[in-house]
């Protein structure tokens, strides 16, 4: 059989719509993961043993159970307890929770890597705990974590394809529709695979740039 991509041309707008949905879910999930990951990292590095244990359990659970199982748990489970939300919202929530577990691990190691002397300097100058966390700990930990966080977010992009299983027509979901309409699944999924790879490659370049930008003043030497 011939490898013919031209038949896909007229489906490009439809696929782009799916890509746009993927972009939205990923952006929201990244934000959600960051917020959740930050809170959990704060809990895990806090002095309270209960918070410590609780956050460790959360990370352990959501890192060791397949995302699709988590997704079904929310998608089929939430209506059961009277929460009716659409597939998009469910997907964003599930991705944020799963992503939050990985994100918190990254941020936590960023926090643990901070020179304790810097924290002590902030303490003795009378700053409140919350101020130290916001103004000292987080900015330093996040700057140091750009690259590993980037890997987590790239994984989140790849994970978002699984949302197609709960009827969300993001990029993979749209491609499924196009594949069945054109009877050209090989071409469709091949292009899709390359598109995801290109997308993650592009994002990893952006992350590298962001890393260099945020750490531009941390290199030894003159201005």
């Amino acid at each position: 059989m011939k490898f013919d991509l031209s038949i896909l041309a007229k489906h490009v707008p439809f696929l782009l719509e799916g890509a746009w949905l993927t972009f939205q879910t990923c952006l929201l999930a990244v934000l959600g993961s960051l917020i959740l990951g930050t809170l959990v990292a704060a809990a895990r590095t806090s002095a309270s043993p209960q918070l410590n244990r609780l956050s460790a359990v959360y990370v352990d659970i959501f890192r060791n159970i397949p995302f699709i199982v988590q997704l079904f748990f929310f998608y089929f489970g939430l209506p059961e307890i009277g929460i009716y939300i659409d597939a998009f919202t469910t997907g964003v929530i599930a991705m944020s929770i799963a992503g939050g577990a990985f994100t918190s691990d990254v941020i936590r190691s960023g926090i643990l890597a901070i020179d304790p002397g810097i924290i002590e300097a902030a303490q003795v100058s009378g700053l409140k705990k919350s101020t130290i966390f916001r103004k000292i700990v987080m900015p330093i930990a996040l700057r140091a974590s750009v690259r590993p966080l980037g890997s987590v977010f790239i994984n989140l992009i790849l994970t978002s394809s699984i949302l197609s299983t709960i009827t969300l027509n993001e990029l993979t979901g749209s491609a499924k529709i196009v594949a069945s309409q054109t009877f050209r699944p090989f071409e469709v999924y091949f292009v899709l695979l390359v598109a995801y790879a290109a997308l993650t490659w592009f994002v990893s370049i952006l992350i590298g740039m962001l890393h260099r930008y945020l750490n531009r003043n941390q290199a030894e030497g003159a201005v």
Binding site: V124, S125, G126, K128, K135, N217, E220, G221
Partner: protein
């Protein structure tokens, strides 16, 4: 006044400070001397509340540092300068200096930064005010560290071997700033191995030996027969002079 009475501090089984009594009044410059491991750093860290004390009482202007509520008041009154600077790496010199005034004293940011610039100028750093710590030399970093402590207008300055991470040239530039501060009447508790410098700026010398304060004398007396009469002090001074 910083008042230390019956201070005891141990790490696990090791008693690091044992029965320390010390009073530091406004305007005094007290140098804390003693060999390595004698507990000098620990003493400083007890005063600014970085270590929990096991027994005794430390007050800064009558605020008890072991009481969480009073600790923040005590900390407002003392500024600490660290051996390894401990600057905030993600902030410029000005931001390092202005942070605590803005956050703790609620000084408007504009004003705090203007004051920070003025402080940095006074230590010869006006050109480097917007540089980040990584872009500064060791001596410059420590000068920023001193400004950061001074920005809170503390009644007391606690300094723990603030020049020991610096080469001689940078040491000289930092010491001259401290000498000026001493002359200007800033109260200081000064841990150092720079004996001659301690002698030139301090009003009193406290000598720690294995966690005990075996001498607390006016500088002149410490470096006279009275100090030399104490075998540990004599030993320490002769060793330091040889080095």
């Amino acid at each position: 006044m910083i008042s230390i009475a019956g201070l005891r501090k141990s790490f696990g089984a090791a008693i690091v400070l044992n029965g320390i009594d010390l009073e530091i009044r406004q305007g005094e410059v007290v140098s804390v001397l003693g060999s390595s491991g004698s507990g000098k750093s620990t003493l400083i860290r007890c005063i600014n509340g970085l270590e929990k004390i096991d027994a005794g009482k430390i007050t800064v202007d009558n605020f008890d540092v072991s009481k969480p509520r009073e600790l923040s008041e005590a900390r407002k009154r003392s500024g600490t300068v660290f051996q390894l600077f401990n600057l905030y790496p993600h902030m410029t010199a000005v931001q390092n200096v202005a942070l605590a005034p803005v956050e703790v004293l609620k000084v408007p940011r504009k004003q705090a930064e203007a004051e920070a610039r003025e402080l940095l100028r006074s230590v010869g750093l006006s050109e480097r005010a917007d540089a980040y710590p990584a872009q500064l030399s060791g001596g410059q970093r420590q000068r920023v560290g001193i400004c950061r402590a001074l920005a809170m207008k503390p009644s007391y300055l606690l300094l723990d071997e603030v020049t020991s991470a610096l080469d001689p040239e940078m040491t000289a530039e930092v010491l001259s700033i401290l000498a000026n501060l001493a002359k200007g009447g800033t109260t200081m508790v000064f841990v150092t191995h720079e004996i001659e410098f301690a002698r030139s700026i301090s009003t009193r010398i406290a000598f720690l030996d294995k966690g005990q304060m075996i001498a607390d004398l006016p500088t002149k007396e410490f470096f006279s027969d009275k100090g030399m009469a104490l075998p540990r002090v004599a030993q320490f001074l002769s060793k330091m002079r040889k080095d």
